[in-house]
């Protein structure tokens, strides 16, 4: 039997080979494959683990100095990589930590020349004060109202237009679609000036309408959803037509469920847009009744000329940031997906 044994090469054998020490099957009967073990001095076979236990010195010798250096180098490299990533991650997180840390301090503690890394007395009352001082309740409600209404209307308009562009045939379709895409190149500042005059002429200044209507149509979202609709086989639509299903019912029952991820991405980005918009709301609706959150936050703490209560300011900032974090934690997947395709903020 011994003279027929293969030496770490693969060919058909009749007997299975077992590890002499632990009995682990190294090569199956009638099996073809690589022998997973090493030949011992007495001609029997050992699996690599038992071999290593029996001849620890031999195994160590196997690593040449060069391979050793490469292994050390690799470990060092991974340590460097992790160190770099952790340092960068700390730099990214630091402002958030400092925001929360500061927001919980008393004003005298905040002003200590040697800063404390965690508040000595935790002042949750800063949050209550911030909520009242910046009138955050009203700002939250305003922003939520504008965000929800504009998102719903925007979704309806986007779905209808995307459907028309993806499924229906009409004259000038490509021309209109191309022209719409071309407007995406122009910076928004160019529209703002005339839009300001237009809404002033409509008598919309300081209303909710002015915050909702001008930005309902996003060419990019129409484009995104059209691409999604195009992927749904046309046969489904024709089958629905033959069954006498109306367009709206088909949209509602087939197209919208199939495009849910894109629609959710659009919804989140649109809501975040309302939450973060600053320039347009400040320009057209700067009264207390219609102010949005970002604008209100900035103004609540710059008007006071006296001693600014920094911890309260930081508490207000934390309150404004908190809903965004919640959205981020639960809907991260959709945000990242939407962002990687759009590259726009809101």
């Amino acid at each position: 039997m011994d003279n027929k044994q293969p030496n770490r090469s693969s060919f058909l054998i009749n007997d299975e080979i077992k590890c002499a020490s632990c009995g682990k099957v190294l090569l199956k009967k009638n099996g073809v494959g690589l022998l997973r073990g090493k030949k011992d001095e007495d001609g029997t076979y050992l699996c690599s683990k038992c071999y290593e236990m029996k001849y620890p010195a031999k195994m160590k010798k196997k690593l040449s100095p060069k391979a050793k250096r490469a292994k050390v180098g690799k470990v060092l490299y991974m340590i460097l990589v992790y160190a770099f990533l952790v340092i960068m991650a700390l730099a990214i997180l630091f402002p958030f930590y400092w925001m929360i840390n500061s927001s919980l301090k008393t004003l005298p503690e905040y002003k200590l020349s040697v800063p404390t890394l965690w508040p000595r007395t935790i002042m949750f009352s800063n949050y209550v004060e911030a909520f009242n001082q910046a009138n955050l309740g009203r700002l939250f409600l305003n922003t939520a109202y504008v965000g929800i209404v504009s998102t719903i209307l925007s979704l309806v308009i986007t779905v209808l237009s995307a459907f028309a562009f993806a499924r229906l045939e009409f004259k000038g379709k490509d021309l209109i679609f191309g022209a719409m895409l071309a407007t995406m190149m122009i910076p928004g500042e160019l529209f703002t000036i005339t839009n300001y005059i237009t809404v002033a002429n409509f008598g919309w200044l300081n209303t909710y309408t002015v915050l909702i209507v001008p930005f309902l149509v996003s060419v990019f979202y129409i484009y995104l959803l059209r691409q999604n609709f195009m992927q749904i086989p046309n046969e489904l639509y024709l089958a629905a037509k033959i069954d006498g299903t109306s367009d709206i019912k088909y949209l509602w029952k087939v197209m919208i469920p199939l495009s849910m991820p894109t629609l959710i991405s659009i919804t989140i980005l649109k809501m975040m847009g309302a939450w973060n918009s600053y320039i347009w709301p400040r320009l057209v609706a700067n009264d207390d009744a219609h102010k949005l959150i970002t604008n209100g936050l900035r103004n609540a703490f710059t008007e006071s000329t006296g001693d600014v209560n920094y911890p309260v300011q930081m508490a207000a900032v934390a309150l404004v940031s908190f809903p965004l974090f919640l959205v981020f934690v639960f809907l991260r997947k959709y945000i990242m997906k939407g962002v990687s395709r759009s590259g726009i903020k809101g």
């Binding site: 500042e189 970002t294 703490f301």
Partner: protein, 335 residues
């Protein structure tokens, strides 16, 4: 979609066109009905502004209020002359350009390194990726205020040598901890360079998540075989980065750089976040103004003509920069 799919679909498409021809009339009005809300809004808030902005820009010193009062304006380029000659314009332009030239390369290189590092690890990858995406979902005004607080010196500074510093701000504390001297970053008497440094740090911090996301997506789609081949050849890590990763990632890099420049030239809210609406430190308001800020200043003073001209100048700058970017990337990008 691969070639076979396209071939399979084409004949069917023709059939559909023929069949839809029968009900074309019905479909036509339906399509217009569905498109109506989008088209009407686009006409009012997108198409008309383009026309009107160009019109106002070329009417000398156009002023909306005076126009309603019946005043007429001559056709001319006075608005553009005002923009170019405005005492602020060169400052705004240089601020914007400096911010772009500094933040785009810094954030792109950092994002590339972080993305490559993230791509090479297994443990904690998802966790770290989540942390690096966090700044994206923040309100740039709110976090700007946090940055301002971190750099802020509380106390009485810049008043003829009678400085009473209560706290120097955490960033200065850290600098002093490592043996440096505190810097007046954004307070009364701070230098323009210090202000710029704060803006660069904040903008880079803010720009990283988007760039990392795009670059990591690109990295994950690179075929592993290139790296295996490099490994067999014993190529060094650095050479692998410059000779394999960067060329294969160049379309994403080009995209990130181009959008970075476009965003950089429209910088405005992040400066409001740090310095407030005075757009500069107390002793020198407007010193950090940008071109977008110039547009809004002109608009708030009622000079829509000048604002329009400034907006068109901004558009022209962005167009030129994008053209240059595209021209460079055409030479350098491997598709």
């Amino acid at each position: 979609m691969n070639g076979a799919d396209v071939k399979a679909v084409t004949p069917k498409k023709k059939k559909i066109k023929r069949s839809s021809g029968i009900v074309a009339g019905k479909h036509q009005w339906k399509a217009w009905l569905y498109l109506a809300p989008a088209l009407i809004l686009l006409l009012v808030f997108t198409v008309w502004p383009i026309i009107n902005t160009v019109r106002m820009a070329f009417l000398n010193n156009y002023n909306g209020l005076a126009a309603i009062g019946g005043q007429t304006f001559d056709f001319g380029i006075k608005n553009f002359q005002w923009v170019i000659n405005a005492p602020d314009f060169m400052n705004c332009l240089s601020n914007t350009a400096i911010l772009c030239v500094l933040t785009v390369p810094i954030s792109t290189v950092l994002a590339l390194l972080i993305a490559v590092a993230l791509n090479s690890i297994k443990v904690l990858q998802k966790f770290l990726q989540t942390i690096f995406f966090l700044p994206y979902v923040t309100n740039s005004i709110a976090i700007g205020m946090v940055f301002a607080a971190m750099f802020n010196i509380v106390g009485n500074t810049g008043t003829s040598g009678n400085d009473i510093i209560v706290t120097a701000g955490i960033i200065n504390n850290i600098i002093e901890f490592f043996g440096g001297t505190a810097v007046n970053w954004i307070n009364n008497g701070s230098t323009h360079v210090a202000n710029m440094a704060v803006m660069v740090i904040y903008i880079v911090w803010n720009a990283l998540p988007f760039k990392i996301l795009i670059l990591l997506g690109g990295l994950q789609s690179i075929n592993r075989q290139y790296y295996d081949a490099a490994k067999v050849d014993g190529t060094s890590k650095f050479r692998t980065l410059t000779r394999i990763t960067v060329p294969l990632l160049s379309p994403m890099l080009a995209y990130v750089v181009i959008t970075g420049f476009i965003g950089g030239f429209k910088e405005y809210t992040s400066i409001v976040g740090i310095f407030g609406e005075s757009m500069g430190p107390v002793h020198n308001p407007d010193s950090m103004n940008t071109i977008v800020g110039l547009v809004y200043d002109a608009l708030e003073n009622g000079y829509q003509g000048r604002a329009s001209a400034a907006a068109l100048v901004l558009f022209a700058i962005i167009l030129v920069i994008t053209m240059i970017n595209l021209w460079v990337s055409k030479k350098k990008v491997h598709y």
